[in-house]
Symmetry: C2
Subunit: 354 residues, 2 copies
């Protein structure tokens, strides 16, 4: 979503590699099981797009920070990737997923390990879950440790910990709400689902990394507040676009089976918006059939589009991004910060499947 | 196990209460589900014996620290209690426990919550596990945050983070090994099981808190090394005594059903020692029956005692505590530190069921 300089990309990768190599080596010194845990943990934090570190660095530069003179920046940027990895590992565990990007995740690896050691299915469940709990703990701790020991001033560290503290708590609240919203017969209202997306993803993925970069660059409190509001809106729009991709996106857009959210009967704001239309009885029947296969998925897609819910979701993304651009303009942010937010907003718009 | 002054106990409780009240209030601001998570998280960190904070403070005083002039001490002490609470919550999740001290733990509370919201058994499992993952994350982060933001010098913070980093990694290695040792037909060797006890419990419960107190008091590297060796030995002895309690202890000693470890077919070093005797075939049959009820448990207890394994375990505790006292004497630790270690060793000896 953001073009960073080659130097910046290299420094982010370097900071992450140092942290991950260290984790791998130290785990290996504690025995064979620990070595396997270290490998799986490192693998889970490898191969992502590193969006969150890029946001930290982009915001830092947009507020006039000099990347040549901020040794703490890279550790803070890397910390946000590790925080993300921690949440993904624990989220996969909660969701019962055993793969990510087509290869076994921590749960999947340790399920296989249990079976290879003569365990049965119950042992595989147990060991997979145990390893995922622990891998997430290691990553969460490492993210925190990187910030606690980064070469920044005492007041920067204090401000970063306020942010990180919020990120951990808000994400936990969002993750829990996300699970609770799958329980019971009633579909939650649209605004509850959007609030959950904001808490679960937008805060730690957009708002907090942007704020971290800005505070390291010395942005004022007012500037940071405007940036955080815009970042939150962009994060919500990103998630809404993600729901559209999971529902209507092609295989190329989704990077997985098309209509996966329909197959999984996922309760997204898009579905909640459809429930508010007069077409809901037809849509509900179509959605109930969607898990049965591609033909039923295509039918559900048509019903959702015909109800106007798809169009309403696109409008909501557009409105949300307009509000993000508004926050940037109202607060008279530096020109580079306005450009950064506009770039992010455009990138989100470009993700909407047509 | 340790008698602290009323002032010290009050300060520890105060630091913990501040952290937990803060967590409760901030969680409540994020919605009803988050409020319930905050309550459950706080409850999971309440009501323990607060042994680990006491060890931090006792070591601090034993190395000449002045508790009236060390504002960071209490936060560091509190952090070790929260670290313990985090590990307990995640350990309960991994073990499938839904109660602790006779009341529902985080998993148990959220299982009930799912059912009350119209969920089925699968929803209860899902929500219980999700809440426990998140509660442990909140506690782990809070423990780390307390140390990251404690009013200590930069070099003290760096040293504390080396310690905390080891505590998190070593405990994870121990927890994973503990789970793996339940898998497969073969009983692991005694020394592997003792290593696991050291990693899973002794390090973060004894060695690290003692070392943290000593480093805040300005102990030398040699003194700290000797203290850590002794602390590790005491921690292992504590765990071996715990196994004896779980196997032979009365209801009063165990605070639960007598013979709970036998009922759960737990693979303890005690059992591994029994497997090294000529009586193993008889013991193995007795152990296989133990889960069936009190008469079978009493039979297994008699067979274990007759094999000499109980006696050997007591000897191993005595030997381990002797080595702890030896570390203290060899390093010429300050008199108060020698007394502290001797007090701890005696307290462990007194726990051995007779």
């Amino acid at each position: 979503m953001i073009a960073l300089s080659a130097v910046a990309r290299h420094e982010i990768d370097d900071a992450l590699n140092v942290a991950l190599d260290r984790l791998r080596i130290r785990s290996a010194a504690l025995g064979e099981a620990s070595a396997a845990l270290g490998e799986a943990t490192v693998a889970s934090a490898t191969g992502g797009k590193r969006l969150r570190p890029a946001l930290v660095v982009a915001a830092f530069e947009a507020f006039g920070g000099d990347i040549g003179r901020s040794p703490g920046l890279w550790r803070v940027a890397a910390a946000f990737e590790l925080l993300h990895a921690a949440f993904v590992v624990h989220d996969d565990l909660i969701d019962g997923d055993i793969e990510r990007r087509g290869i076994p995740n921590v749960v999947g690896r340790f399920r296989e390990r249990a079976l290879a050691r003569g365990g049965d299915a119950a042992d595989a469940n147990l060991l997979g879950a145990a390893a995922a709990v622990l891998a997430g703990d290691l990553l969460l701790f490492e993210a925190t440790r990187l910030i606690a020991t980064a070469p920044v001033t005492a007041s920067q560290r204090a401000a970063l910990f306020v942010l990180l503290d919020d990120a951990v708590l808000v994400s936990a609240a969002g993750e829990l709400a996300d699970v609770e919203q799958t329980i019971g017969a009633d579909l939650p209202p649209t605004d509850s689902l959007i609030r959950t997306a904001r808490d679960k993803t937008a805060f730690y993925s957009f708002q907090a990394p942007l704020a971290a970069g800005a505070l390291l660059a010395g942005a004022s409190d007012d500037e940071r507040a405007a940036l955080e509001s815009a970042g939150s809106a962009i994060g919500v729009a990103f998630q809404l676009a993600d729901d559209l991709i999971g529902t209507f996106g092609s295989r190329a857009e989704a990077g997985r089976e098309p209509g996966a959210d329909l197959r999984a009967s996922k309760r997204t704001p898009l579905i909640a918006m459809a429930a508010e239309t007069e077409y809901w009885p037809r849509i509900a029947s179509a959605l109930a059939m969607a898990p049965t296969g591609p033909i039923a998925i295509a039918h559900a897609q048509r019903e959702l589009a015909a109800s106007g819910a798809r169009e309403r979701a696109v409008e909501m993304i557009t409105d949300t991004l307009r509000s993000a651009r508004g926050h940037a303009a109202d607060a008279a942010l530096p020109r580079d910060a306005v450009v950064l937010l506009a770039t992010l907003a455009s990138a989100v718009e470009d993700r909407i499947p047509r």
